[in-house]
Symmetry: C2
Subunit: 561 residues, 2 copies
Amino acid sequence: MHITAGQKNGRVLLRPLGGVGEIGKNMMAVEYDDAIFIVDCGLTFPGKDAPGIDLVIPDMTFLRENSRRIVGLFITHGHEDHIGALPYFLKEFQVPVYATRFTTALAEAKLQEHGLRLPKGSRVVRPGETFNVGPYRVLPFRVNHSIPDSVGVALWTSLGWVVFTGDFKFDYTPVDGEVTDIARLGELGREGVFLLCADSTNAERPGVTGSERTVGPALERAMALAERRVFVASFASNVHRVQQVIDAAAACGRKVAISGRSLEQMVTLAVEHGYLKVPAGIMVTVDEAAKMPPHKIAIVTTGSQGEPLSALSRMARGDHRQLQIQAGDTVIISATAIPGNEKDVQRTIDNLYRLGAKVVYGTEAKVHVSGHAAQEEMKLMLQLLRPRFFVPVHGEYRMLVQHAELARQVGVPAERIQIVENGQVCEVTQNRIRITGTFPAGEVFVDGLGVGDVGNIVLRDRRQLSEDGILIVVVGLAKTTGQVVAGPDIISRGFVYMRESESLLEEARARVLSALTGRNGNGGPVTEWSTIKSLVRNALAQFLFDKTKRRPMILPIVLEI
Amino acid sequence: MHITAGQKNGRVLLRPLGGVGEIGKNMMAVEYDDAIFIVDCGLTFPGKDAPGIDLVIPDMTFLRENSRRIVGLFITHGHEDHIGALPYFLKEFQVPVYATRFTTALAEAKLQEHGLRLPKGSRVVRPGETFNVGPYRVLPFRVNHSIPDSVGVALWTSLGWVVFTGDFKFDYTPVDGEVTDIARLGELGREGVFLLCADSTNAERPGVTGSERTVGPALERAMALAERRVFVASFASNVHRVQQVIDAAAACGRKVAISGRSLEQMVTLAVEHGYLKVPAGIMVTVDEAAKMPPHKIAIVTTGSQGEPLSALSRMARGDHRQLQIQAGDTVIISATAIPGNEKDVQRTIDNLYRLGAKVVYGTEAKVHVSGHAAQEEMKLMLQLLRPRFFVPVHGEYRMLVQHAELARQVGVPAERIQIVENGQVCEVTQNRIRITGTFPAGEVFVDGLGVGDVGNIVLRDRRQLSEDGILIVVVGLAKTTGQVVAGPDIISRGFVYMRESESLLEEARARVLSALTGRNGNGGPVTEWSTIKSLVRNALAQFLFDKTKRRPMILPIVLEI
């Protein structure tokens, strides 16, 4: 590619819609020369603070209001936190999608489930080959990560290169031989990187992450030592891990079965596109595996995060339809727990031990490495690119702070480093970087079929219901006189077990009746609904708190008869 | 003490009421010669799986049914998971309580809040001095742990010593100079340990834990580097940690303020009993601290677990009444997150960084060491005591398995090691150890004032409510005819936001009405209440699932008018 030194005016605006100041739902809108280029479109799986919510996607209000200026969406790799919101995005925005071959295959599979297709103009990109999108010259470059065909992306502007690393690490001996394109990164650095946005996930970890290839010998050792069946739990999308499990099994004379729908789909796709090499005759079905001698079998499965419905968790609880863990089986947890999942993973391990399995897990076992750069690799990226301005991305706030500190250590002046959070507009000109404003960038909850219909009020109700339950008071009032003609009836759920609390509820009922018949008030019946409801609430809230020290939701229901 | 070799028959029964196969609510009933001796009486703070529950205590049904055979309760140390259920225990069982001086002081403070006292016959015990309880000769022995005055306890029986380590580690340079009594442990080993029950908490950690004293220099270094105020978050009960914070502050010319009610109480008690040495003039109030130059102040606070209501979390959110975190302040997290608390701790750290604080945390910072033995210390304990039989306790199942493996490594034959779980009866005779039965040992939930009135049904309701909310259908039926004379009215909470879902709820209402007026049924009105309720549920459940893919609790309420 031939680069001409551009004019040095103009500006770049960054608007993170997600993934900056948090882990998950990565989405960055870049604006240059009035054209908006989007990098990634991810989702988050919510924690226990958002009960009942299935997914969280970025709030796309800003894009909606500026949809005509969007020139394209680039996806760096196929993990859910970078690709997962694509169906929701494409229902609103018909812009070309750019991604490498495997990422495109994953995107298409995902869109198919939603009855969607990639928009016209979308294209499969090749690392190292540039193409034009609006005013941008776009260069995807190879990076190592825990899913095949991952790339970062560099955008040429009149100010120099604007580089997004995507999720990355430096793996000098990757399983597929595709190394992060260090030479190209050095070249970008020489040509002039105006702005770098780099992955901060492991900014708290000193040293280097280590090669994916180091996992292979550990897997093989564990399999060689195993006297009976071996189960390996991993992320479905970690195709190179699956490759190493298959290779280790082959070396140990074991056949391989795949358990778990997401894993089956991923393996099929990876084989089809040439990302997974399966020796002839090694794969068997789960049913076939069940009939083979235990020392001849390795089973790859999902559930490395202790997800209650995953294959491994069900095996650990003894309620998997086809596979039962037997005493002497070996289970390898080839992953680490994502923060928030620790207890679920530990519970799964405990249950496996209860069934008599040998469990191989934890850092000592060396059966897992991260897909993200540690501190020394982050410094290498910074030294290769030597950016004029630096914005740490993909990480919770403390990780961004650590990454910023690393940038200072390698010589980026503090005033050229900017920590940005979701919803902040970051303006970068030739001379300075700063936050110039904000835009709407909250969380949009997906619950069942609803997108955005569950908001903070509903979640607040769910949390209150989960803490102390609900007490429903039903009363029928005569339309004309306002006299109590039916009830009050009291029903509770999640508050106390009703059969064992009859006297409490009976007293509560008496208090409501007394409040409503006006004996405590101005002598006559009350007819204003809102007054009636607050009378009921007042009569009960303090009484129940005094008796139980709990604050259930109190829901008065008045029927006019 | 003079030991005579006893007869070699008889048996010991272990009945763990808690703390074995789980972390928390440690309570072990030992039975020998028909007399039940209890070691510890702890509680658990429940996880997010038990919403609204304040505390979990052991199910004491077995004790209730055998109360006349209980001869005493021994408490090894003052942590809540060993002492916390004492008030609930003493409301039912008036047996003598044995504990060291500081543990007794903590017990008395706790009982006072419940309007209780230690029963007659209770006594303060001294490590190394034996006393008799029923058929047992009892020997408390000094151990190191993260609270002062911790001990293990050995019981002499005709079979030899039965030893409970309590929570322990080997600290050769403890802050208070009180080392785990290695010599005495060796002596017990020489005299003959029949059965050892040892702490398994850190059985997954290789190496040794390290001395509490190593934390002091790291604290002092962080304080010396700090240009403004220093906050140190720690567990209130870790008196030696507080001592080291005070010493580091003194060395750096800083005054010390205490923030947080539990910490103030603990410091008062520790000073009063001589466990905390405070240089004259160093302590100031939080209000005084606020007026002093920032580099002259260190503030000890609670909230190392990110507890939302703790002093530190409130400061991090900017809603603490007296203390605001300012840019340039240093916050030292002198603790590690208990499993399940990781996200809360991380959120607190993120918020502190957002306020511009420097945060010192994590293993690299060396500002925390565990209070529990790691693998090499566990082996040392096993080698000192050389027990005939071994039962790993205090730990989740996988930790018990690891600890059992360590015992095998140091030479305890596999058939003399028994993993026991809460609710299992473990019988140990001269020749063998085995599980001989079970007893009721579930969890008793404390919610507000209620002890045990919230059970699994209520919790199941709370979880369902928190996932998808509730939909209440109220209908008034004429007593005589069964005709609908009021409603149906539909109210929802935690399901959908009602104002934005009017058409959905209107259609739901129509479906209920149609079901009740019998148009879909046998032509006439229905009068059986249970039939009416299931008609309503059936009419709605599938309809709502099809429309929303959610399954709210559906609660039909029928008023007879």
